[in-house]
Symmetry: C2
Subunit: 384 residues, 2 copies
């Protein structure tokens, strides 16, 4: 609303877009979506994109072909996508009873809602609260790699929780997220982690079935394991989010090349730190986020890898440090930049360490083709 | 807008607020504002709060007593505050010609606009562009401590730039920001840095006056130097932003105590990582930000220092790691927590490393008194 006060007319090209701004490369985004489709097609599994990276119903609709089944990380994502016509939602963060009313309110509008849990006490509460209500089923979160949450495939509580939910008529199956796959490097290591994820989850499903419990949903996923899995037997559905954008963390573990990253921040050179031969740009941590996910990788990309205004990687130019609205750009090895090559006012594009974190700093996407022509604007939302 | 769909009624107490949420402690915020007022009163200088931390005109109005002169870091801040009746704005990020139209549009509505620059070429462009327009003056950014931007007090270009601006009738004075004060520790070190900031800036002003140039504005500031300066001779105005909230980075250098921090994130325990004796809460990096500003300080606060639901610090409990919507809470020394003390569903409050970064992740503030009663809701904005 307020932004439009300054816009005398919608920008036609990236040269007219006020900086900093969040840019989506249309061709790269479409190619990233196609790559996942192509990889999963032979396996005959379902796919449920995680919209926490994108947080824009319009982007999902336009690039995934409609109101597909989705995964969400917040109730606001669930509500915003439900309002936009998405009617099959997996809320993939452990439920607590206080959040159940909001879930049921969505289910009451006809949305298929799935929730997750990993605790016997919560299962009791949920089974009780959902008794006599329809449209909500619960999946048990399985821990395949010690990443964060979930119950071990061989834990006694797996059967206890499933029986509690099944008796209430709300048991839907099992799911897992191989978060430790982000620490793997290279196709073979990631494929091995995908097999760890698959086999652990399928073992949990088989234990449940052996105990006489139906387990229709067997859902796994992370961008690395979804793209590099070599077997998906026993899996009904795969989930992934950042694969649409890709980012430098993914490039650092071999999931993509830097020139496949569809998301970048458009910035302007606003000055120099002459004594150190560095540029000052108008993209600081507010535009890039504070994410330093590549700091622990072999190639540290600082706060982002710098490209020219057309999106071509310049070389070893990175954002070396940031304040709120200032970024300092330097060579990775600390040698001074030839400042005369970057006059004040020139535009650069910066690839992010972590696309989810960088996108979260912005209120909209500018979609552009490879010539820099602006082809669409997409709002994105924030909050919970 | 979408948030309200889920709210059947406005929460009366923090127990009813959906988590994660951004909480402002009313008494601490008022005390932090009063502390700055009390410190600066004897010096007889102006004060121009930086609203980049708060990004809410209503909070500034309510806690600073009206539409006071402000400092902004983005054109959106300038527009949003101007729409809310603030009519004296310093845009404290180096101007580029492409952003001048937006500045002039605000000046044309009667807002006193000040911009900053540190480059002779930009000064030429600005002087040319502003010729014949009124309401905009330019300050020269002075570099007092090698932090980021600005021109050295003794640089030849100082006079060149000032003459260019003065001839166009738009020269307003000098300003600096002692960003390196964040690396000082303790009152004496910060006071010494404040004197470095003051003396460098005043030297620049005196050189200009000796050359026959009027230099009405001599503006310095950062939260540490504003609160610990022992002399402000020659300074006309002080700026600071995060002082209103305070945060763990400020506590780490002795600017405040942790129990003076007015900003916290309300979170819910949603599970356990039982093998490691850690809690899982629904505040991950999306709610806390990725800022790890205390990592380089003596006490590393992880992603935030954990308090009980009433805001009392528990001890050495910190967020040890984060994913997008998950935080893992553990003891600072890695020993397991007694999980039975934290049942699923219980609420905690987390003090942030960097208040500006944490606040930026949220769309609103919940103001609460010390009993946990909700006394106001304030929207805050994002973007540029």
């Amino acid at each position: 609303m307020a932004v439009e006060i300054a816009m005398t007319a919608a920008p036609q090209t990236l040269l007219q877009v006020a900086t900093p701004a969040l840019i989506l490369d249309e061709a790269r985004l479409a190619a990233n979506v196609r790559r996942m489709d192509d990889h999963l097609a032979p396996f005959g599994v379902g796919f449920r994109p995680h919209v926490k990276s994108v947080k824009s119903p319009a982007v999902i609709r336009d690039f995934l072909g409609g109101a597909v089944p989705i995964t969400v990380s917040t109730l606001l994502e669930a509500r915003m996508f439900a309002e936009a016509g998405f009617n099959d939602i997996l809320y993939a963060v452990g439920i607590v009873p206080a959040k159940l009313d909001a879930v049921c309110a969505l289910a009451a509008t006809g949305v298929r809602m799935q929730i997750i849990l990993d605790d016997a006490g919560v299962a009791d509460d949920i089974a009780h609260a959902l008794a006599g209500r329809s449209g909500v089923t619960a999946l048990i979160e399985v821990d395949c790699d010690g990443h964060r949450s979930g119950i071990a495939p061989d834990a006694d509580d797996l059967l206890v929780i499933a029986r509690t939910l099944a008796e209430a008529g709300v048991f839907g199956g099992v799911m897992t997220h191989a978060g430790e796959s982000y620490a793997c490097e290279g196709a073979d290591a990631i494929a091995a982690h995908a097999e760890l994820e698959r086999s652990g989850l399928v073992r949990a499903a088989e234990r449940l079935r052996a105990a006489g419990l139906a387990c229709p949903v067997v859902s796994m996923g992370s961008t690395p394991t979804a793209l590099f899995a070599r077997a998906l037997e026993g899996i009904t559905e795969v989930r992934a989010g950042v694969y649409m954008f890709q980012d430098l963390v993914m490039a650092g573990i071999g999931v993509c090349r830097p020139d496949q990253i569809a998301l970048s921040v458009l910035a302007t050179v606003i000055g120099y730190q002459k004594t150190q031969g560095r540029l000052v740009i108008d993209a600081g941590w507010m535009a890039m986020s504070r994410d330093r996910g590549t700091a622990s990788q072999r190639v540290d990309q600082g706060y982002g890898l710098v490209c020219d205004g057309a999106g071509a990687i310049i070389g070893d130019l990175v954002i070396t440090s940031v304040n709120q609205e200032h970024g300092l750009v330097g060579n990775r090895d600390g040698t001074p930049i030839d400042l005369s090559a970057y006059p004040i006012g020139i535009r650069l594009r910066v690839l992010p360490n972590h696309a989810c974190a960088t996108a979260a700093q912005h209120t909209a996407y500018v979609l552009a083709d490879s010539s820099g022509k602006v082809t669409a604007h997409y709002p994105r939302f924030s909050g919970w």
